[in-house]
Amino acid sequence: MQTLAYPCCEKCNHTASTPCRDYIKCRVEGPLCHDDPDCKQKRQDFLAKMYDPEGLTKQILICTGTGCVSSGSQRLIELVREELVKRNLDETVRVRSTGCHGFCEQGPIVIIEPDKTFYTKVKPSDITEIIETDIVGGNKVDRLLYRDPVSGESAVTYETVNFYAKQNRIILNNCGQINPERISQYMAKKGYQALEKVLQTMKPEEVIEEVKKAGLRGRGGAGFPTWLKWNLCRKAQGDKKYVICNADEGDPGAFMDRSVLEGDPHAVIEGMLIGAYAIGADEGYVYCRAEYPLAIERLKIAISQAEKNGLLGKNILNSGFNFHLKIKAGAGAFVCGEETALIASIEGKRGMPKVRPPYPAEKGLWGKPTNINNVETWANVPHILRNGADWYCQFGTPKSKGTKIFALTGKVNNTGLVEVPMGISLREIIFDIGGGIKGNHTFKAVQIGGPSGGCIPEELLDLPVDFDSLSEVGAMIGSGGLVILDDTTCMVDIARFFLTFTQKESCGKCTPCREGTKRMLEILTRITKGEGKPEDLENLETLAGVIKKTSLCGLGQTSPNPVLATLRYFREEYEIHIREKRCPAHACTALLQYHIDNEKCKRCGVCAKNCPVGCIFGDKNNPYEIDSQNCIQCHTCIDKCKFKAITVS
């Protein structure tokens, strides 16, 4: 028996071609088909070794999510292994690579279990000390512990890090805890038990009913009730049906889907299996952007392990249910996250949305009824079916159940992935989990929902985060991006940033989106350059209205949101740009004026020498001056002046 997934002895005859219906239960409670204390002991030993609650051996968990890998965690694994071998500790101390912890900013992250010690920003040169002080000496390496940015105190275990303490990690629970490349570790964490329960005890309709009772709504943006979609697809006429996992994750800044796929791929596979059973589909696709090579690799491994163990393929767990899963790598266009464009892309066509109806539930991939859900939505499914809808309903609000993962970024102290129950206030996310605003700055707004979302100002920070409350104030959960903006952010500029993205990513099919966003962008750009006209705001609103009302797909329909939301809550800022040709946040470089203070200037001429466009004039006898007509606001002169004689206004 090499891993938990393997047979205990020759009596076990479960294989992919001769599946046993109790395979999953057998692996954690078994053996079930024969009575043998030895075999049982073997299984229990395995489980104990994997999650050693008594702390008999120490485990070093090293994160191998994309963030930590790019800050060098692979090298850490090698070094730790070498170091352990050197000290003859390799038998007693286990090294495990895990998925993302969501706190990538602090990466590479190393955790020592069972102590839960949480080391951050670990460098190769720290390894010897960790082994010596912690593993051997039993003390903490203080300088590598996480220090709270507000209180300045260090947190020894991850449970005491504020960033984690206020979270409610259900979907992310396995990420960072199990090795995503081992199906047995997923099984040890109750993995595939929901599937076994569904296949053995539930009719497809009952599965849909349970998902309905749980109130699960799509995490891909629109919050559409998942059961309703499943039901439509189940009822649609068709000899062949498909399920698709939308792992395109095109929102800039969002990376929860990637983390789930990298850290817990089997949860997504299990969710899809359950959904396919409920709908009556026997084939599925995971559409994942090619920029996520690690997620694709982990998925490939997970699929092949599931196939080998008879959890994908024909006659799964001897239930008669067949399901085959394929991966389709997309070329990374934002619009390919839109379901009809995604389907076109799988079919080998250009990813361009089609008019709905017909909806994919009636006519989807290759013209067959198709159900598409987001990665996080699929990952919720096993939890609901394993623990029941009642358990699930304890999280969230009456209309938005469960948890949601957000990607917290911007001017906040702790950035990363946070999983919180729906209904939590934005204030709690930003100030408790996020540790407040960075530096000496003040909160200005939070941009939520990515390029389709809106900006929420300070006065609405106590708003509960759920699907409906946010759309009431002109924002949306979207894919869960949360960009925190402080007083140095210009709201016109932020609107321009998001519109630049949508305009570039517009598929170009329909007129209002392709041409309209371009004209809006031109107006915004003009405003940030101080060339705005009084009628611009009205023009922006008219255009935005037409684009929202007439665009073909969600990309166009939501593209004016960042502009409309900032106009709604920060109109004054737009007006100041237009009226006074001034950017209150000092962010629009074109509106900055550089001055030399003659009192402070020592006429050293360094600024003039370094100005890349040569627009500073003066000499020993004549005061230095900046020709603001030609100044490109590059800030070089300020950086170079030793006497702080140059100011910007």
Binding site: A333, V335, R350, M352, K354, V355, P357, Q503, K504, E505, S506, C507, G508, K509, C510, T511, P512, R514, E515, G516, T517, K518, R519, E522, T542, L543, V546, K548, K549, T550, S551, L552, Q557
Partner: protein, 352 residues
Amino acid sequence: MQWIQLKIDDKKIRVPEKTTILEACRMNNILIPTLCHDPELTNWGACRLCVVEVEGMRNLVTSCTMEVQQGMVVRTSTPDIREARKTILELIVANHDIDCLTCEKMGECELSKYAYEYGVKKDVFQGAKREYELDDSNPFIIRDLNKCILCGKCVRACAEIQVNHVLDYSKRGFETQVGPAFHLPYGESDCVFCGSCLAVCPVGALTEKQMAGKGRPWEVKKIQTTCPFCGTGCNFDLNVRDNKVVGVTSNPGSPVNGRALCVKGRFGVEYIHSPNRLITPMIRKNGELVEAEWYEALELIAERFKTIKEQYGSDSLAALSSARCTNEENYLMQKFMRAVIGTNNVDHCART
């Protein structure tokens, strides 16, 4: 078939199921502007000009794609709708090379028709415009992407009428364009110059090179005829000005071919007025070809057939007919050989 009852602009209407709102409107003489719709091509819903209001729907919907439903209430011309259409037209015009003075399409341009109807001025949105080079590297089609409105009709015509799939969209956002793969000019692509794309383009982005400068739509007379090139029997309109054929345009009403034509039918008109063309029979007299009258030539042929048949027998004659002849002509030819000459020696170039 089920009938659907609905209300359009307060008028009660009954149409068969699966009819689109646009079709229902057109059946009832309710005008809806369209730029990307074409009854012969799949519904595309791209230009968004045909938007209407359907009660209960959050956004405006495109009438060209939305099928009617029992009890639907549709409005086609509220101020909101007209405003949205006008804005859409203004947006198209803002990125269109307004070169109407010498544009080949003038008079038949759909964009200018609706711009006129909706009172669209050209300078509402001022900003960037596309700047592409003219593609006139082939003898047949001039492609001016600065006039293209990206309706995608050419893409669908190439794929659905000619089934050649030469054209598609490329790039994204404001830079989106249509054309052959790798932005090749038409002449270097796999285009077979059937001209189907040309026939459906609503603006002056695709125009016929041979007809350039040869006459405005109102100056030419369209005369429907059957193509003489082969036996398929495609119909099209000869465009005639001052008694001269200046070109061919396809006629959607053609029973055999609709708007599909091949390169010869659509573009092969040069020979009509060619000075090298034979216009009378020629008889070789004293080793030289001399112009003759038809009765003279036919008499000579009959005479020679008769003598050959008498001298050497019926089977010494044979006839080979051509795929370029019509069915009727081929029928007559074999009938003539069997009944008049008395032989079964009949063959046809397309027999294999």
